[in-house]
Symmetry: C2
Subunit: 640 residues, 2 copies
């Protein structure tokens, strides 16, 4: 009861199934809920482009414009491609669904594995990047990034367990604050240029190139491609809109498409705008500062400090909201996989708050592991990121090509062509990303994705096998004739109230009850047998004494079980009844029931190795809290 | 089966109870088994005296002779005192027994807590000191002391689980090797002096005093007392002989006394001999070297290096054997406490190998924690050590005084006087040790000992309360009239072979069976009810459908249980029958039974909070390993 109340307080009261249809979002809220992953990626993508090029000094940084424009081009291709997916799959065209329906189950599972991997990484990257934005403003926090990231992760997890609508409401403000402040910053920057402020020069400002690049007269193509690959993280999250079509109000496809184009436009403006200004003013960050923080300082030079802090705060907040996108999508994809029998069934269960609680907790746990292992450092996590997203993009687009070719509806050739361009562009980016990032840690993802597919397959085989074993409509019809009364065997350690209770329970369910006393101290059985008779138990159950010269309790007991089953030869295994103590406090439990626990463990182990299964009955005896001088006070009415 | 074989291979086959009497040791083996703790302590006691005095430079080191002689005097007093205990308690006069019988249960428990604490510390100190001896010879090991200590701890633990006799055999060689090599070293040292080798001078050799002492013209008494306290660790383990009287061959007291005097003589010779030679030759160790290692180098100057390595190896080995002493005594004291109801009963159980396996594993685990926390550094562990031993010494000696005064047998005044001197001497040492070591970490022990006593008391109260609740001979006589057939309630998720099996089992034990289907998807109950009727289950059990608009399974089920119990009003709680899957591989288990597990957890929680207890029956269904195209191959004889 206390636990329920606490849960209600933190998570809100449970919602009935009937309200499920109302958990839909209007466009503005849906944009806030589904786009922050994509929007906020400019925070770390800008940073990665800077870190990728700065090793080649001013000559390297000169390439950032080209790279940003290439990525923006890719973004527009993706947007057009996905708008076709949204129209074709109005009930939700996640990469898994599209790839599975058009390219087969295995390809679908690869897409699903890729997406799940990237959702986890998105949480870790967004949270750590948000903490880095905050720590740029408050340098005292820089050394506590891991701890702060974990605290924020817990807050986001609780917010999500509360449910999608509240999450949507909480998320709206930071997303529009972020979009508003960054548009404002870009406007101020452009105004400075228009008012005649001169361009900066990386040649004066940039650090000298590292030893590796200092001797080179031209910037190597490999460096440019590697930086392009790192910058492609800006595009992760674009697919969220097509996964999330069902959360829009009807007509879902139309609303989803409107919202996606708005998102793509905002992404392009923010990404190109901030990058362009960085390059125009030749901004270089301090050692414990992000590039966006440095840009903000430069643009608002001479303005009150509060403006800078508001922008850093909005960056932190939008990254938290970006992490939240995964909390909507991961449980949804996991539940679809669970429904199809590729993930454990409990992930398909809708929790009390209309959200997939199990999926949320799984995601949160895995993201926490990543944050801890990678020391809360965004730059270390980035190489693992984006492979999953681009693999899912490519498979999804390829699936769409196949879809149009198969359907051959109106204008199918054009539609297939659009998705074909999308497939080619994303496949090219995927190749560049994989080739340049595998040595930096992406091999983990390259091994993980096929590993996950194997796990999905194994789970599916298991569930199919179970279904086949359980169905009543194949094979022999089930045996329906009544079972004989089970033979009940209970181990006893002596004769006391708990044992008498257990024997009475046993003889209420069967006439064939045997109590077994394992005699470790030679001669100790005599007193047990005497008390057995004294309390009239011989009428209820047979008492068997098994000597144990090796002082083991478990082995002689199990041997006795085997022997009775062999002698009875009735096709049944005897039921084991275990008298157990339930203590008043959990810590007292360690003082009891060790033997019952060992017997259960042994029988479980034998079940596995021999296929022999037997019913086990726990008959608890409740122990009171305190020693009481008069166990039955009503005998002494005067003592009150 | 495979587990048993592996255990037999590592630990040896189990021994029958009848052999227990033969597990006795002759004097030479008993000395090897019981004295190494005491003998080997010279290894770290010498080191502590050196480290304690060297801060005051040459002037400080000049005091080592005085301190060593004071400790040797204390040793002789202790030896005489304890010989009286051995005579008075031929069945084993551990400090707990003596203090409890003569000074009351609480004092006995304090002594027991003190001893147990010191046994754990002895393991940690001996193992780390042994590793330091080895690392003095092989400096490459110096940085891996923690890891090496843990490896040695595991080896000792396995040796002890094999049993006392084998342990005794293994231990004999190193103890006599140690005694032999050190007596030889002392002889060579004396020979050098006799042959006219001049004394060294600390004034030339010793490091300059630290800043704190450089300005002082005399060595402060506090420093001398603190060093004395650290040196008193040499005496830990003397009580082992009186605890271990029962392992001697009869007449036990006589043999134990002979062996103890041999031990005290050897301790005095080794301790005074090595310390005297260290001072005569003014030996100063290198920075990653023990004082005994430096002394060995000095004495065998010009001898082949192999002699040095043999002596370091014998030091390592005897310290391993010293750790082993605790492995005999800790489980013994723990089992006595468990037998008296002050520790969990399972610690009293004699394991398969006639040793107290549970106690051994507990000791090993706690020592491992100490080694890890104190970074495998003997010098950091020492301040915690010896308080327990001297507290137990004092209480035991005081108990003996009381014993003689009460008995008033022949010569009681003299005997009481001897133990009185022992009490005074050990109490004085205890005061010095406590006062000087509390700030250095001994506060942990000072808090731990009364904490343990409180735990012993709480466990005892619990066991007394349980006994009172279980006894058949007090309070109301137990209810012996037959119970009615239990009402059985089973939750079902649908109708399949596993459910049919569970229903058949339920109706074999009771005529009152109710199956409960929790309906989460509205309308899904219809198909369940239709199949229920189709397979003729309505004759075996009632089917009840409970709608769950909040999609929770557990809460509606538990509410249903409460309601039926309330309606039946027969004083019984319904039995819950849980159909469970047993998978072919343990990892498949995660895909099943989550609901059954949650129901059990909820009922357990309710048992605690409400005192309501109900029987729970697990009816397992065994799942085969592989999906099989023909679940019943015997239908298709051709398919083989």
């Amino acid at each position: 009861m206390a636990i329920s109340s606490l849960r209600d307080l933190v998570l809100g009261p449970p919602l009935p199934t009937a309200r499920m249809g109302h958990e839909r979002l209007d466009n503005l809220r849906a944009l806030a809920a589904l786009s922050p992953d994509a929007l906020a990626s400019i925070a770390y993508a800008n940073q990665e482009i800077y870190l990728g090029l700065v090793v080649a000094g001013a000559a390297g940084l000169a390439y950032s414009g080209t790279i940003v424009l290439a990525i923006a081009g890719l973004l527009i291709i993706l947007g057009i491609s996905y708008s076709q997916t949204i129209s074709a799959y109005p009930t939700g065209g996640g990469s898994y669904t599209v790839a599975r329906q058009n390219l087969g189950t295995t390809v679908g599972l690869v897409a699903a594995a890729a997406l799940l991997t990237d959702y986890i990484l998105n949480v870790a990257v967004s949270v750590t990047a948000g903490v880095e934005a905050a720590a740029s403003a408050l340098p005292a926090l820089w050394n506590y990034r891991t701890e702060l990231s974990l605290v924020l992760l817990v807050i986001i997890t609780i917010a999500n367990l509360r449910g999608i609508r509240e999450a949507g409401a909480v998320m709206t403000v930071p997303v529009y604050l972020f979009v508003g402040t960054y548009l404002f910053m870009i406007a101020v920057g452009i105004a400075r240029i228009v008012l005649g402020e001169p361009a900066g020069s990386f040649v004066q400002a940039a650090p000298a190139p590292t030893a590796e690049y200092a001797a080179l007269t031209i910037v190597p193509l490999a460096l440019v491609l590697r930086t392009f690959a790192a910058g492609c993280t800006a595009l992760t999250g674009v697919e969220a809109m097509s996964n999330g079509v069902p959360v829009f109000r009807p007509p879902e496809s139309k609303h989803a498409n409107q919202t996606m184009f708005l998102m793509v436009a905002l992404m392009a403006i923010l990404f190109v705008g901030t990058s362009g200004l960085t390059q125009y003013f030749a901004v270089i960050p301090a050692s414990e500062e992000t590039i966006l923080s440095a840009l903000t300082h430069r643009i608002f030079l001479g303005w009150p400090g509060i403006v800078y802090y508001i922008i850093q705060a909005s960056t932190l907040l939008v990254l938290m909201v970006a992490a939240n996108t995964s909390f909507m999508d991961f449980p949804r994809v996991a539940s679809i996989l669970a429904r199809d029998g590729f993930m454990p069934r409990q992930l398909a269960q809708v929790g009390d708050r209309l959200v997939f609680s199990n999926g949320i907790l799984t995601l949160s746990g895995l993201a926490a592991v990543l944050i801890i292992v990678f020391l809360g450092d965004t730059h270390l996590l980035i190489p693992l990121f984006a492979i999953g997203a681009f693999l899912a993009f490519t498979l999804s687009q390829a699936g769409m090509v196949r879809h149009w070719v198969r359907e051959r509806g109106q204008g199918w050739l054009l539609k297939a062509g659009v998705n074909g361009v999308g497939t080619l562009a994303t496949a090219t980016a995927l190749t560049i990303i994989t080739a340049s990032k595998v040595p930096e840690g992406a091999w983990i993802v390259v091994l993980l994705i096929p590993g996950l597919v194997l796990v999905f397959r194994a789970i599916n085989r298991h569930y199919l096998s179970v279904r086949e074993q359980l169905t009543l409509y194949e094979g022999l019809p089930p045996d329906l004739k009544p079972l004989p009364e089970p033979r009940v065997v209970l181990p006893i350690s002596g004769v006391h109230r708990g044992i008498i209770r257990a024997v009475r329970y046993a003889s209420a369910i069967s006439k064939h009850v045997t109590a077994v006393y394992i005699e470790i101290e030679p001669g100790s059985a005599e007193q047990v047998r005497q008390r057995w008779d004294e309390w009239g138990l011989e009428g209820e159950a047979d008492l068997v004494v098994v000597p144990s010269p090796y002082r083991s309790i478990i082995e002689p007991f199990v041997e006795f079980l085997d022997q009775t089953d062999h002698e009875a030869n009735d096709g049944q295994l005897a039921t084991v009844l275990l008298p157990e103590f339930v203590t008043a406090h959990w810590w007292e439990q360690i003082l009891h029931n060790q033997t019952a626990w060992l017997i259960k463990l042994t029988l479980l182990y034998r079940r596995r190795s021999s296929g022999r299964v037997r019913a086990i009955i726990d008959v608890p005896m409740y122990l009171r809290e305190e020693a009481h001088p008069h166990p039955h006070p009503h005998l002494h009415p005067a003592s009150k």
